[in-house]
């Protein structure tokens, strides 16, 4: 890989790779995941209806990715495979987000140091707790750094600004609609507006109404459901910054 006679210090090499990955991630739109009173909401700005950023991994686990689609989709598939194999070999209750997050971290770290180029992605792995267990939110960076987040987390190009906006408006008593509303306002910022078709929304619902047959907590909302959650079904209200109050 390195050319003979050309010395690059390890610090420089890692710095260059990190810059490269960050630049790739910064080009994409952001994703917010936050807890509400009945589970975890994952909300991404995504104008494609078919190329998804948020997906189901396992019964209580969801995945969100930003950056290069093809790269985080590969990670998503690898995660589904890891979870399904583990559930098949042991039991469904042995599949958990923490071990999955560590696997992802190893993989991203491996790519970062050993491959020609790092993966230009940032991902979240979240698990909704069953019963008294707490929810788990992990954020994993392009170099394999894992962060164990509480209540909400944001990834993507504009993540820091989005996180600040979420922090300002967040209330742990939120229901799903309010959480989606805040996520939209945080993703859009003060200058822009995002409508339902440009949002991708999924919920990991901890309260399962029909316990007999439902073990998969993941539920994707379609455009109509997102519109209803945001309260934009009639006409777009002017006070879009106050969506979380609706």
């Amino acid at each position: 890989m390195s050319m003979p006679g050309l010395y690059v210090s390890p610090e420089q090499l890692m710095q260059d790779r990190a810059d490269y990955a960050r630049k790739g991630i910064a080009r994409g739109r952001s994703l917010v995941t936050l807890e509400y009173d009945g589970g975890i909401a994952l909300v991404a700005e995504n104008n494609s209806a078919t190329l998804r950023k948020v997906s189901e991994i396992y019964d209580r686990i969801a995945f969100g990715g930003v950056g290069r689609y093809i790269e985080f989709d590969q990670l998503r598939v690898a995660g589904v495979r890891h979870a399904e194999l583990k559930g098949y070999q042991y039991s469904r209750s042995d599949v958990e987000a923490r071990s999955l997050a560590n696997q992802y971290a190893q993989m991203l770290g491996q790519f970062f140091t050993h491959e020609l180029k790092p993966l230009e992605v940032e991902i979240v792995v979240v698990e909704v707790g069953s019963g008294d267990e707490a929810n788990q939110l992990y954020r994993i960076q392009y170099d394999g750094t894992v962060m164990d987040e509480e209540t909400y987390c944001c990834i993507g190009g504009d993540a820091d600004a989005v996180r600040e906006r979420v922090a300002e408006g967040y209330d742990p008593e939120f229901d799903a609609d309010a959480a989606i509303g805040l996520a939209r306002a945080a993703l859009a910022g003060p200058e822009r507006e995002i409508t339902a078709p440009d949002l991708e929304v999924a919920l990991l619902e901890s309260i399962v109404p029909d316990t007999s047959h439902r073990r998969r907590c993941f539920r994707r909302l379609d455009d109509a459901e997102v519109e209803a959650a945001l309260g934009d079904d009639a006409e777009e209200p002017e006070d879009s910054a106050d969506q979380e109050d609706s």
């Binding site: 690898a78 589904v80 399904e84 194999l85 070999q89």
Partner: protein, 281 residues
């Protein structure tokens, strides 16, 4: 974490993923059986009655609860009807161990496909997946461990219930009205054949299924009837536009109680034991 190079990727097949990761789902037992010179002396649990009936709004699936080993009853509350996913069910007849394992693999495969591809398989695709699993299981079937399921579901694209029967080689046969499998299938099939109408409502289809199971249990020692003493009733499930729903024991018990009352009063379900007003146990 499994990661594959492009072109070498097992795609949406869970079975292929298992093979690639050293978890061959079908091979090992057949090798053991071959080394032992066949399983002739090892009696598996083969006998059963399971059935599916098309109703006007979908399809009904039912199965008895008895598992036998030779002349002994090994389980009274065995489950032979399973949801395959939200809109389909699989009912098994044959050797219990491999059959239950096949159902598990089938359920995993359907969910795995849905997650990898982002949308569920078509009903036809699901039926074909099951056929492929039965075909892969053929070496074990040849050694005396056959699995012969029924697959039934609600076809969201067509808006109707559909049902499929299989043979041990993986032959897949779509049936229009009803399907049966297991040692009591001959008796159950006759009842269904005589009682089937094109416009059966879901309760009527459930009542007909219960009648068929009762007659199968009446004639076939390896099929269990309702067991009100222990509160164990054959599994009844209905699949319609709202998805899979299994009746709870109280609901199943009520359907059987209605049949029993009908039989006791010399009604249409009447057989030789109807005069005694008793149900076989």
């Amino acid at each position: 974490m499994p990661f594959f190079a492009p072109g070498d990727d097992p795609g949406a097949s869970f079975l292929e993923l298992l093979r690639r990761t050293g978890n061959e789902p079908f091979g090992d037992l057949a090798q053991v059986a071959a080394a032992e010179g066949g399983l002739g002396s090892l009696e598996g649990s083969h006998a059963t009655t399971v059935l599916a009936v098309r109703s006007s709004g979908g399809v009904v699936v039912a199965g008895d609860r008895r598992a036998t080993s030779g002349h002994l009853i090994s389980h009274r509350d065995m489950r032979k009807v399973f949801p395959a996913d939200s809109y389909s069910a699989v009912a098994i007849a044959g050797a219990a161990g491999p059959a239950v394992q096949m159902v598990r693999l089938f359920q995993l495969q359907l969910e795995y496909y849905e997650k990898i591809e982002g949308k569920p398989l078509s009903l036809e695709g699901k039926a074909n997946q099951l056929a492929e699993m039965i075909r892969a299981h053929l070496p074990q079937a040849m050694l005396g461990l056959p699995v012969v399921p029924i697959f039934a579901g609600f076809d969201l694209a067509d808006g109707r219930g559909r049902l499929f029967q299989y043979d041990v080689t993986g032959g897949r046969y779509e049936e229009q009205d009803y399907a049966t499998a297991g040692s009591g299938s001959l008796h159950a099939g006759t009842v269904l054949k005589l009682g089937f109408r094109d416009d059966l409502s879901e309760p009527d289809a459930l009542a007909l299924s219960v009648q068929a199971l009762w007659h199968a249990a009446d004639e076939d020692s390896a099929t269990g009837g309702p067991d009100p003493v222990r509160g164990i009733y054959p599994v009844l499930a209905a699949i319609g536009p709202d998805g899979f729903r299994q009746l709870d024991d109280a609901e199943s018990g009520a359907v059987f109680a209605a049949l029993q009352a009908d039989l006791a009063s010399g009604g249409s379900g009447g057989g030789s034991s109807a005069h005694r007003g008793e149900v076989p146990r």
